[in-house]
Symmetry: C2
Subunit: 265 residues, 2 copies
Amino acid sequence: MSEFERETAVSEVAPLHYASELHRGWRIGKVPNGGYVLAIAGRALRAALPHRDPLTVSAFYLAPTRLGPVECRVEILRRGRNTSHAMARLYQDGELKVQVTAAYVDLDSVQGQSWSACRAPDLPPMVECLENRRSELEFHQRLDLRLASGSSVFTSAGPDRSGEFSGYVQHRDGTAADVLSLLMFADAFPPPVFSLFGVLGWVPTVELSVQIRAHPAPGPLRARLYSRFLTRGVVEEDGEYWDSEDTLVALSRQTALVRIPDGSQ
Amino acid sequence: MSEFERETAVSEVAPLHYASELHRGWRIGKVPNGGYVLAIAGRALRAALPHRDPLTVSAFYLAPTRLGPVECRVEILRRGRNTSHAMARLYQDGELKVQVTAAYVDLDSVQGQSWSACRAPDLPPMVECLENRRSELEFHQRLDLRLASGSSVFTSAGPDRSGEFSGYVQHRDGTAADVLSLLMFADAFPPPVFSLFGVLGWVPTVELSVQIRAHPAPGPLRARLYSRFLTRGVVEEDGEYWDSEDTLVALSRQTALVRIPDGSQ
């Protein structure tokens, strides 16, 4: 069992009521990564629903989570032949921390036309990318992130003003990414505003939505996460995730809040 | 009172329980426009919450709505000083049709840094755009939509293969757009896949999320709605909405299902 599987495991303690735990290894500062937390909700939803794969998932982050036990209560909204819908709520000490809504399908049964306006990003080989294993980020104990662009902000060169990070991501233990880990990888890159203003503190997520398109082929994912519009401290972060066979496997969008301390930029 | 205000009005029949009605004038075929339905939920949320303006709203469409009475039940998830969170559920005949989650703020109190990678789209004057008042679309009784690009699919010229529509939108009765009408305008353009495959039938929305950035200044909005990735019939539709003063007022993303009939390409 991979670290990710073990540390996102859920156990059903009553009908549609799941117990899990937020483990060390996934935190940004003191707060478990939002994508990691979402993956636990995603696993509970998979256990509860007749379909296995998230098609689109939206999570609202109401309060920061912390290490330790987490309760996940699922409510099924609709069971359809091809799609089922449910809501999952994550509580700690009785406080609602994250509210998730999702549509689940069996991705292998999805059929229809395909078309794309964009190809997978053309990145330099992984060995040439900066391994972003900053010691202060516990998250990088689990996440192997190699930045192909935007990394200068983590060096003396400073921000490249691009509003974008791109690179490779994979599980640190080398296990293959599945669709539930895509929920985690969707919150894995540094906030693109770092490339504008330098490394800021915590950039809290208001909402994170992830659209899953395919089961990823084994191997590192290539991804880009970018922001285009920062409006009075509110920013979107849009992500695209491609597998080793050049298939788009997920899109993401989050709304986050940016607080720039005096003296930055 | 504008048509939009009158036809999205809600009345509180019990605590956090609102009655409304889906009116004629807003349908695509037999189904009321998803953005119009979302605006009703948005108005109920405004009535229930201490903050007035949606910051980010996510709606899952579980079953098609129809004309007539609609029940909206709001559950408040968290009341914060700057942000409050709630869920709204829309029912018809006791059936859950739409599930909405939202973060509300007072937009005028939002403060922070601004930056943009993109400007408002440079469109030809509104009088030069095709007025998309196709008689078969009841929705155009309420929506004044002028396409600046992509309109060829509605003429003998056929699809332009761009994956995008751009143009102007405003209320048909000439009233100014407010933040709740942005929820409706976020579902106002034709599905961008029409520009690839020609005019298809109904393209059902799985999820629609709207991120509001500012109160729009009076005047028509300029907008673009585009798709980049169609994967086995699943497509994202991303929108950007600008006011007459070149301010980005909203972003949108929806996940939709595309069924291409035999004989189309």
